[in-house]
Symmetry: C2
Subunit: 208 residues, 2 copies
């Protein structure tokens, strides 16, 4: 059986939601395994040498890492669930484009906010790095808002793997002291997101 | 005709190489357009509101951005060129995984090195941020070296879109004062890369 490794509240949440959407739609079983992060004895180190989630182990033992690969791979397990789109279509490119933008720009913009120590050893300097990081992140949230203008979901008027992943970062914004009340359209989007059965089940599973 | 926008020496180089591999293999024409970056009157702003390369405009006018989407999309234009792999295969996931790792980790690690001003306003602090960034980048280059150990190319013993993109960042390392002589296997890999017709043609076109 396909295994998906996740950690509570991590960026693996998007893949977790896709896995639950797929299993709901098709009954195709995917085993979801919750692991701790940044502890040397976490079982994730036996599966992924970089110790990161999400990680997938396919039913014939191949290991897949990186959201940019895992989200498409899970979504392609059941094309009828329409979390992705056929090869060669503009829709498929647009969904992969969203995943790329979220992975590099948005997730990357959280790094100086959550882990300013990666950039400079001095604690006072880290505070400024975090502040400048929050300013940059807010600019990018405005880009997200413009890209979603007038839309229910990111691509093709249905919930896709792009949405599963976007919701992760909207849920993270309070960590950066960014209040979604500043962005009413995004707050409404996140309400739709949080109302999905797959999202509610994933939250409950990770909290347990 | 499909159009691909690139800028000299930018991260669009990987997509540029894929486009030339595809046209060499199949005669399928892709128009490559060189644009300046970070100048307000660059033609790229009319195509991509974020003013970034690579950007693709498909023959029916769809705009695609983000390397994570453009590299697969170009490679899928001609499956016989084998720059990518069929949907549902482990190889496809591995190629997309490389693209994701390069896009988020490796490209992201160049940001504090090339543009430390994005993180802190003070010039002295920026020097330390750049130094810490170079240390981090060197660690990631070691990860790349381990992933390539014993291999001619990144995935499946043939040149794929993952290699087209990896070469970009190996070519950038001198900008971060990292000498490839420290990494003999990677130096040999880059020699193979630079010897390809597609790479030589892309370098000449961008320099012209």
């Amino acid at each position: 059986m396909t295994k998906l490794y996740v950690a509570q509240g991590a960026c693996s949440f998007g893949a977790h939601v896709v896995a639950r959407e797929i299993t709901q739609a098709s009954g195709l079983p995917i085993e979801i395994i919750k692991v701790p992060l940044r502890t040397p004895d976490s079982p994730i180190h036996k599966v992924n040498p970089l110790g990161r989630v999400p990680t997938v182990v396919t039913d014939n033992g191949n290991v897949i890492t990186e959201n940019g690969a895992i989200l498409p791979w899970l979504a392609d397990l059941n094309p009828d669930a329409k979390l992705f789109a056929p090869v060669g279509t503009a829709e498929r490119a647009q969904i992969q484009e969203w995943i790329g933008f979220l992975n590099s720009d948005i997730h990357g913009a959280f790094r100086p906010v959550n882990r300013p120590n990666l950039f400079h050893p001095d604690e006072e300097v880290q505070k400024s790095i975090r502040e400048q990081g929050i300013t940059r992140l807010r600019e990018l949230v405005r880009v997200v808002q413009r890209k979603l203008e007038g839309k229910t979901w990111a691509v093709g008027e249905r919930f896709t793997a792009a949405d599963a992943y976007l919701g992760v970062f909207l849920r993270w914004l309070p960590r950066a002291n960014i209040d979604l009340a500043e962005f009413p359209d995004l707050a409404a989007y996140l309400e739709r997101y949080n109302a999905r059965e797959s999202v509610k089940a994933a939250i409950a599973f990770e909290a347990a």
